[in-house]
C-alpha cells in the first residue's frame, strides 16, 4: 500500500504537471531565487534530476529508501543512509532526520489530546445515554455539536486571543518545550492545543458513545445481566460500554493514526514544529522529497494504528478471537 501511495504522490507532482505542459525547467524554476537566469534554472533542473525520465526519478527515490543515497553539497558529498527519503529541494536538508526530529512534537500533541478526548468524550457519551433526555444530555450533546462544527483554525485562534493574549493564562503560539527538558513546561505549553484538539474529537466520541450505549443498553443480554442481580455500574461498564466500544476503537485507530501523521491545522494554528507543520510547509513549497516523506510516514502510522486496533478488538469484544 505504501508503494502505491508513493507512486500516486510522485505522479501528482511530476506526471500531472507534465500532462499540463510543464517542462523540467519550469519545475526547477520553483526552487530558485527570484529573477534567476536561464542558466541557473537549467543547472537546478539538472541537479534535481528533472531531465531524467520519470521512471528513473522514481527508481532513484525507491533506491534511496532501500540502499541509501548521496547528496552533493558543492564542497563535498554526504552519505544519506537507508531509509533515505531524499533531500529537501529548498533547504538541502535530509528529510528522514527532520521527520524523526519533529515526531516528538506530534506524538506529544496527539497522545495528550487523545487522552483528553477519550476520557471526556466517552464519559460524557455514557452519562448522556444513561440520562437520555435530561438537561445534562441536551447540554452535552449541544456542546458536542459545537465541537464538531467549529473548525480548529477558528477555535484555536479564539483560544489564543482569549487565554494567551487576553488573560495570559497560557503561553503564546509557538511555545514548545521537550518533555525530557522540563515536563511541567511541556504540559503547560501543550495545554491549549490539547484542549482545542480534544474539543473537536471528544464531540464525535461523545455522540458515538451515546448512540452505541443507547443501542446496547436495550439489548436482551443487558436485561439478563440485571436479572442476574449484577450492580448497575457493572452492567453499564462491563456489559454495555464494552460492547459499545468496538466502533469507537475503530474510529480511534484511524483518528490517532492520522493525527500522528500530522495534526496539520492544530500545529499550524499554534505554530508547533511537528509533522503537521512540516507537511503544510512541504506542500506550500512544493518540496517533493518532503511531501513524499511525510505522506509515507503518515500512511505508515495509519497502517500501524489500524493493525493495533485489530488486535485490540480481541481484548474488548469477546466475540472476536484470534485463531
Amino acid at each position: 500500500m505504501l508503494i502505491v501511495i508513493s507512486m500516486v504522490t510522485f505522479g501528482i507532482f511530476f506526471v500531472v504537471p507534465q500532462w499540463a505542459g510543464s517542462t523540467p525547467e519550469a519545475l526547477a524554476s520553483r526552487y530558485v531565487g527570484r529573477a534567476a537566469t536561464p542558466e541557473t534554472v537549467h543547472l537546478v533542473a539538472e541537479r534535481l534530476g528533472f531531465n531524467d525520465p520519470i521512471v528513473v526519478q522514481y527508481g532513484r527515490f525507491l533506491k534511496g529508501i532501500f540502499v541509501g543515497a548521496e547528496y552533493d553539497y558543492g564542497a563535498g558529498v554526504e552519505q544519506c543512509p537507508a531509509p533515505c527519503l531524499g533531500y529537501s529541494f529548498i533547504s538541502g536538508q535530509p528529510v528522514w532526520p527532520d521527520l524523526l526530529d519533529r515526531m516528538p512534537v506530534t506524538f506529544s500533541l496527539a497522545i495528550g489530546a487523545a487522552l483528553l478526548w477519550v476520557v471526556f468524550g466517552v464519559s460524557v457519551g455514557v452519562l448522556s445515554a444513561l440520562r437520555r433526555g435530561s438537561f445534562f444530555d441536551r447540554l452535552s450533546m449541544g456542546t458536542a455539536l459545537a465541537g464538531v462544527s467549529l473548525p480548529i483554525f477558528f477555535t484555536g485562534m479564539v483560544s489564543l486571543v482569549v487565554f494567551s493574549y487576553g488573560l495570559g493564562w497560557t503561553p503564546p503560539g509557538g511555545a514548545w518545550t521537550d518533555l525530557t527538558e522540563n515536563p511541567a513546561q511541556w504540559a503547560y505549553n501543550l495545554l491549549l492545543p490539547w484542549i482545542t484538539l480534544a474539543f473537536l474529537f471528544a464531540a464525535t466520541y461523545a455522540r458515538l458513545t451515546r448512540a452505541g450505549m443507547l443501542e446496547t443498553m436495550g439489548e436482551d443480554y443487558i436485561r439478563t445481566a440485571r436479572a442476574k442481580g449484577l450492580r448497575e455500574r457493572e452492567v453499564v461498564v462491563k456489559h454495555g460500554l464494552r460492547a459499545a466500544l468496538t466502533p469507537i476503537l475503530t474510529l480511534f485507530g484511524i483518528d490517532f493514526g492520522l493525527l500522528i501523521g500530522g495534526a496539520i491545522l492544530t500545529e499550524t494554528t499554534y505554530t508547533l514544529p511537528g509533522l503537521g507543520q512540516f507537511a503544510i510547509l512541504a506542500i506550500r513549497n512544493q518540496d517533493l522529497p518532503q511531501v513524499m516523506g511525510v505522506v509515507l510516514f503518515a500512511a505508515g502510522f495509519v497502517v500501524v494504528a489500524s493493525f493495533v486496533v485489530d488486535l485490540l478488538y480481541a481484548v474488548v469484544d469477546p466475540r472476536v478471537r484470534l485463531s
Binding site: 520553483r30 529573477a35 534567476a36 534554472v41 558543492g74 533547504s91
Partner: protein
C-alpha cells in the same frame, strides 16, 4: 477494574493540568506584557518614518522576532529577500551598506567593510574597494580582501547556491572554464574578481556599470573563510563577521544570535548592537504573529511587509494601536502585464485601450485602498526610487478611466467593438482576485471582455503567468504581477521587469515589455557614471515603457507596519524598505 482505574487516573491527570494552568500562571513562561512601554516615548502614527522613534543607547535584553515562513537561506551567498539582507547585517558585513536611520538618507550607500565607496576606472568597467584593517571573524582570524573575493567567487556556482542574486554572474568577466570554486578549484577567477593585496578587492566587469556600490551592499560580498566553507551546508554553520554570531540554528524552526566578541565597534560606526541576544522563530502562523506583535510577546515581524488583513481590522479602528503604526510607500509596484504575444494585443493601440479603460480608483480599492494598499501608480518607478519622476501618459478625470479615448484606441487598432482575452491572477491572493474583477468590470464598458483565471501562487510564475509557452498557447493577455526593488535606483527597480533580454522559458516577472527602444535606453543608463544624467535616462526608460503600453501600473505599494512594544531606536529605512533592524534595541 484496571480499565476503570486507568480512565479515572487519566481524568484526574487532565483535571490537574487544567487546574494548574488556571492557578499556576505559567510555570515560568513569560506572561503577555500588559504594558511594556514604561517611560518610553508616546506612540504617534508615522513617527518612525522621518525620525528615530524611542531613541536609546541602552544595551542589553533579548530582541524577539518571528517570521511567518522559512528563510530561503541564512548563507549570505544564497539569499534573496529584503528582510534577509536587512537582518543579515547582524552577522555579516559587506563592502558597502545603506546608511542606517530614517528618511531619504536611508537610500544613501556608505562604506561598511570598505574604507570608502568604490573607485571606478576604465570607464566603469573596473571597480576597486579598499577594506579596513583590523577586521576579524568570530573565531578571531583576520578578514582580508581574499575572503571577499572568495565569497563573491563561490556564489558563481548557482547549482549550489540557486537562491541568491545573479547580478555578479552577469556583470563580472568570469573565465569561460570557471564552473565555481568547488567544481573547478584550480581555475583562476581573477579576470572577474581579485584581491590584489591584503586589503584591496578589484572587480572586473564585462561592460561599464554605474551602480556597483549598490551591488556590493548585497550579501554576496560578505566575507567567507575558504577553510570553513562547506558549500550548500554553510547555511548550517555560518562564520560571523558582524556584531552577532549564531548560538543555535535549527533550520526551519528557530535560531538565536549572541554577541560576537571579536567584532570591533571601532571598525563599525553603523551598528549600535544594542540587544545582548536575538531570537528568531520561523514558520509562525501569520495571524498569530500579528497577535503576538500587538500583545508584546514578540518585538519584530521579520518579513516587514506589514500586517495581515485580519490584524488591520483590529489595529486601524483602535487609536492606541494605530499610534504604533507607520505607513510608508515602499519601492514596490503592483502591476498588470499587458502581454503582446497574441492578437489583438500585439497592436500597441489595443494595449493603449486597456490603459485608458482601466479604472485606477477601483484597482486601488481592490488592493486595499490608500493605507493598506498603496498610492495610485501612474508610471512604473515608485516614489522612493532615487531620481523618480511622476508622470501620467494616460490621464483621466478622477483616475476613473477614459472610455472615450479607450474607444478611439480600439478603433485605431481595428477592434472598434472590443475584443476578448484572458487575465490571470494568483487565486490565493484575494487582492489580486479583486483587481482582476475590477479590471473585468472596467474593460467591459468599452467592449473588452476578460475571462479570469486564478492559479496557485506557488506555481504561478513557473507554470502559468511567468511561463512563455503557457502564455502564448493559452492566449493570456493580462496578468497580475508585483515587483520590489533590489536597490533604490532605476536599474535596481526596473531592469528585471522591463529588460526583454531577461525573459526565459519560465519563472518570468516580465513577459510583456519587449521593446528594443527600452533595452537600448537600459544599456545607456546602466553605463552612465554621472548620477544626474543616469537618473534622467531611467525616467526615459519609464516613459518608453508607458508609451509601449505593455505594463499597467496599479499601485505604488504601502505597508502598514506595527512597532513592537518595548522596542527602542525604531526607524523606517528607505534603502531597506522596512524598519532598520540593526538599529533596534529593547527597553
Amino acid at each position: 477494574m484496571k480499565r476503570k482505574s486507568a480512565l479515572a487516573a487519566a481524568a484526574t491527570a487532565a483535571l490537574a493540568l487544567v487546574l494548574s494552568a488556571c492557578g499556576g500562571g505559567g510555570g515560568g513562561t513569560t506572561q503577555p506584557a500588559q504594558s511594556a512601554s514604561g517611560a518610553a516615548a508616546q506612540p504617534v502614527a508615522n513617527a518612525a518614518l522621518t525620525e528615530v522613534f524611542n531613541p536609546s543607547t541602552k544595551k542589553g535584553g533579548t530582541l524577539k522576532a518571528a517570521h511567518s515562513a522559512d528563510w530561503d537561506s541564512l548563507d549570505p551567498g544564497d539569499t534573496y529577500y529584503g528582510y534577509s539582507f536587512n537582518f543579515g547585517r547582524f552577522y555579516w558585513r559587506t563592502l558597502t551598506m545603506y546608511k542606517p536611520g530614517p528618511g531619504p538618507d536611508g537610500n544613501t550607500v556608505i562604506p561598511d567593510l570598505a574604507e570608502s565607496l568604490g573607485e571606478p576606472s576604465d570607464e566603469g568597467k573596473t571597480w576597486t574597494y579598499k577594506i579596513k584593517p583590523g577586521l576579524k571573524y568570530e573565531d578571531g582570524t583576520p578578514i582580508g580582501a581574499k575572503d571577499v573575493a572568495y565569497a563573491v567567487a563561490r556564489t558563481f556556482d548557482k547549482e549550489t547556491f540557486p537562491h541568491g542574486p545573479s547580478y555578479l554572474n552577469e556583470l563580472l568577466d568570469w573565465p569561460k572554464d570557471f564552473k565555481g570554486v568547488y567544481k573547478t578549484p584550480d581555475v583562476d577567477y581573477k579576470s572577474a574578481v581579485e584581491a590584489t593585496d591584503d586589503t584591496t578587492v578589484v572587480f572586473h566587469l564585462k561592460k561599464p556599470f554605474a551602480s556597483m556600490d549598490y551591488i556590493v551592499q548585497m550579501p554576496m560580498t560578505a566575507p567567507v573563510p575558504k577553510d570553513k566553507d562547506t558549500g550548500a551546508k554553510y547555511r548550517e554553520k555560518i562564520i560571523s563577521s558582524g556584531p552577532y554570531k549564531f548560538e543555535t540554528n535549527e533550520i526551519g524552526k528557530k535560531f538565536a544570535l549572541v554577541r560576537n566578541d571579536q567584532w570591533d565597534p571601532a571598525t563599525d560606526p553603523n551598528r549600535p548592537a544594542l540587544p545582548d541576544r536575538i531570537e528568531v522563530q520561523l514558520n509562525v502562523n501569520a495571524d498569530d504573529l500579528d497577535n503576538q506583535l500587538i500583545s508584546g510577546d514578540i518585538h519584530l515581524d521579520i518579513p516587514g511587509t506589514g500586517l495581515q488583513p485580519a490584524a488591520l481590522g483590529k489595529v486601524l479602528p483602535d487609536p492606541a494601536l494605530k499610534a504604533r503604526t507607520d505607513n510608508p510607500t515602499i519601492p514596490r509596484l503592483w502591476y498588470i502585464s499587458v502581454i503582446p504575444d497574441n492578437p489583438p494585443l500585439d497592436n500597441v493601440d489595443c494595449r493603449k485601450a486597456v490603459m485608458y479603460a482601466a479604472d485606477r480608483v477601483a484597482n486601488q480599492t481592490a488592493y486595499g485602498g490608500e493605507v493598506a494598499g498603496g498610492e495610485i501608480a501612474t508610471n512604473v518607478m515608485p516614489p522612493p526610487i532615487v531620481g523618480q519622476e511622476k508622470f501620467d501618459t494616460y490621464p483621466s478625470e478622477g483616475n476613473k478611466g477614459d472610455t472615450t479615448k479607450a474607444k478611439e484606441a480600439l478603433t485605431a487598432c481595428g477592434q472598434p467593438n472590443g475584443f476578448s482575452t484572458t487575465m490571470t491572477f494568483r487565486a490565493d491572493r484575494p487582492r489580486e482576485k479583486a483587481l482582476a474583477e475590477a479590471m473585468e468590470q472596467a474593460l467591459s464598458k468599452v467592449g473588452i471582455k476578460l475571462t479570469l483565471k486564478g492559479f496557485p501562487a506557488s506555481s504561478y510564475f513557473s507554470d502559468y503567468a511567468g511561463n512563455t509557452a503557457y502564455v502564448k498557447k493559452n492566449g493570456i493577455g493580462l496578468a497580475t504581477h508585483g515587483w520590489g526593488s533590489d536597490w533604490p535606483d532605476g536599474y535596481g527597480f526596473m531592469q528585471a521587469i522591463v529588460d526583454s533580454r531577461t525573459i526565459r522559458d519560465a519563472g518570468n516577472y516580465n513577459l510583456s515589455v519587449k521593446s528594443d527602444k527600452v533595452d537600448g535606453l537600459i544599456d545607456q543608463a546602466s553605463g552612465e557614471l554621472d548620477t544626474t544624467a543616469r537618473n534622467k535616462l531611467w525616467v526615459d526608460v519609464d516613459k518608453a515603457v508607458m508609451e509601449d503600453a505593455s505594463l499597467l501600473p496599479v499601485v505604488w505599494a504601502k505597508a502598514l507596519l506595527l512597532r513592537g512594544q518595548g522596542v527602542t531606536n525604531v526607524a523606517y529605512n528607505e534603502g531597506q524598505s522596512m524598519y532598520d533592524y540593526i538599529m533596534l534595541g529593547v527597553e
